[in-house]
Symmetry: C2
Subunit: 301 residues, 2 copies
């Protein structure tokens, strides 16, 4: 398949949304609430949210199909010949904020942007934000990310892993958001089918990366101290989403449905002034051993 086919991408994203929701519902025994929102210009979005679940404090899995009459200025600056052209954009994004601090938060998204046969690209990836990390969980996450990339090039995982570390970083805290994963943007190629196959591989590896971790940690006993640390760390998540994340900024500025844009926000978060964990505690190990870029697969195997 040489040329981009938006119908195929749309079907894949919608199928992925429904599969992710079904699997998370099975794990939690709590239903997602979904809405179908049709825009006047033919656009469509389907936000799906699960709140106050048994294991998932909040899960949001959103699909959107936007149709634009005219390319935003920023998009056509690099390609002046595209100025004024119409475009379509598809996106699926998902986030899980768990009840149990031993279960990490994860986030994933895939995006497709189409102007014409010669101008289209994908973006996306997935990343993990543990509160109390278990080395085997981080290893599994990165091995799954590497498996998603493996068929598409020997160095692809390493490149996208480094890109993820760079993107999910809080400069004001000098801290990574979590332990990363993979990230890519402006991803295009000569043959649409090849690029789309890679994007599908990323999409198909999201829950295989997360579910085994959720499943083995979700019933671990935890106390007030662990919950309080999770809420404190979620403050960082709120900082990243509101102050750093380009997608959220764009969503907030472009006047898109704000409850969809901010569905990624943690259900609860706290800020404690000038707080830091006790030396040698489990909490301080998160900062020392996990909140720094590491070559997880080579170091942990």
């Amino acid at each position: 398949m040489l040329n981009p086919d938006i119908t195929l991408v749309r079907e894949y994203f919608l199928g992925l949304q429904s599969s992710v929701c079904n699997q998370l519902e099975r794990e939690d025994s709590t239903p997602f609430i979904s809405q179908d929102i049709n825009a006047d210009n033919g656009g469509y979005s389907r936000p799906s949210v699960l709140e106050n679940g048994q294991y998932l404090e909040k899960a949001a899995v959103h699909f959107s199909h936007s149709i634009g009459a005219e390319l935003p200025k920023a998009a056509s600056e690099r390609n002046p010949e595209l100025a004024g052209k119409s475009f379509e954009a598809l996106a699926i994004s998902m986030i899980v904020h768990p009840q149990n601090p031993y279960v990490p938060t994860f986030h994933a998204n895939l995006r497709f942007f189409l102007v014409d046969r010669a101008h289209w690209h994908f973006g996306g990836g997935f990343d993990l934000t543990p509160y109390y990390p278990f080395p085997e969980d981080v290893l599994h996450w990165h091995q799954t990310a590497a498996a998603a990339c493996a068929p598409f090039g020997d160095t692809l995982y390493d490149r996208l892993k480094a890109w993820c570390d760079e993107y999910f970083y809080l400069p004001h805290r000098k801290e990574p958001r979590g332990v990363g994963g993979i990230f890519f943007d402006d991803w295009t190629g000569e043959i649409f089918g090849d690029v789309f196959a890679f994007v599908q591989s990323v999409g198909n590896h999201i829950l295989p990366g997360y579910l085994p971790i959720l499943s083995r940690r979700k019933d671990l006993q935890f106390g007030e101290k662990e919950e309080s640390f999770m809420l404190y760390r979620r403050g960082r998540y709120a900082e990243f989403n509101l102050a750093i994340d380009r997608g959220t900024k764009y969503g907030m500025q472009s006047g898109r449905r704000i409850e969809s844009v901010l569905a990624s926000m943690p259900p609860r978060a706290t800020w404690k002034y000038d707080w830091s964990p006790e030396p040698k505690s489990a909490e301080s190990r998160l900062y020392e051993d996990y909140l720094r870029p590491r070559d997880w697969i080579r170091e942990l195997t």
Copy 2:
């Protein structure tokens, strides 16, 4: 006094900080914890924070004196002849997040920026963010703001009130942050003494605006529903500070001490997906009657 005198401004800001801390401590019977932080280049800051008080969940009152070797680019763009000049900046900022949802959150700050005798300005103001507003509290707040401005011009309060409404606005929510107050920036004049007298008047009216409200609401009985609404509304406060507020953005990007910059964050905040208050509830009255620009003094007297 024709020419700017930074020593006088510094003394006034430091005195105001100490007076505000003393008065809030008396009200709460909880001490502020302060630090003295000296920068290598002669700069100095004094963050003071009270946490988990009886009535104040968090109060932060910060003083800072920054010395800059070279004007930031943004500052000299309007005045190219200033490029490369050194400068000094003084600031005092304060915020109170109460325990009781019937007590509003308030924020105030004053800033002084000095390049040379002919180039200096003040900025600042104060604004109120109620959860469950009482008309007499909002009226008292705005009457105090009007009293601060009254000696300095007949239309001054109206202008600074409108400026405050414009600044403390969340465009992505199409919502004001609260019921406003007064706001001013780039405030300079022929005679330094006159401008400084106005700034002192603003500073001297902050606690007289807030303390009577705190004092008459702090012991009101409230339940889980009211607390939960306060935490939800604090999510908006976090959104404003992290995504909209220019001062916070500048602080985060300029590499200043991040715990001072983000001391304004609410101690706890929540996000509920697509939530809105029940029609005709006290919570929905906040949106309908208070989260819109109003001519408070004329409408409420």
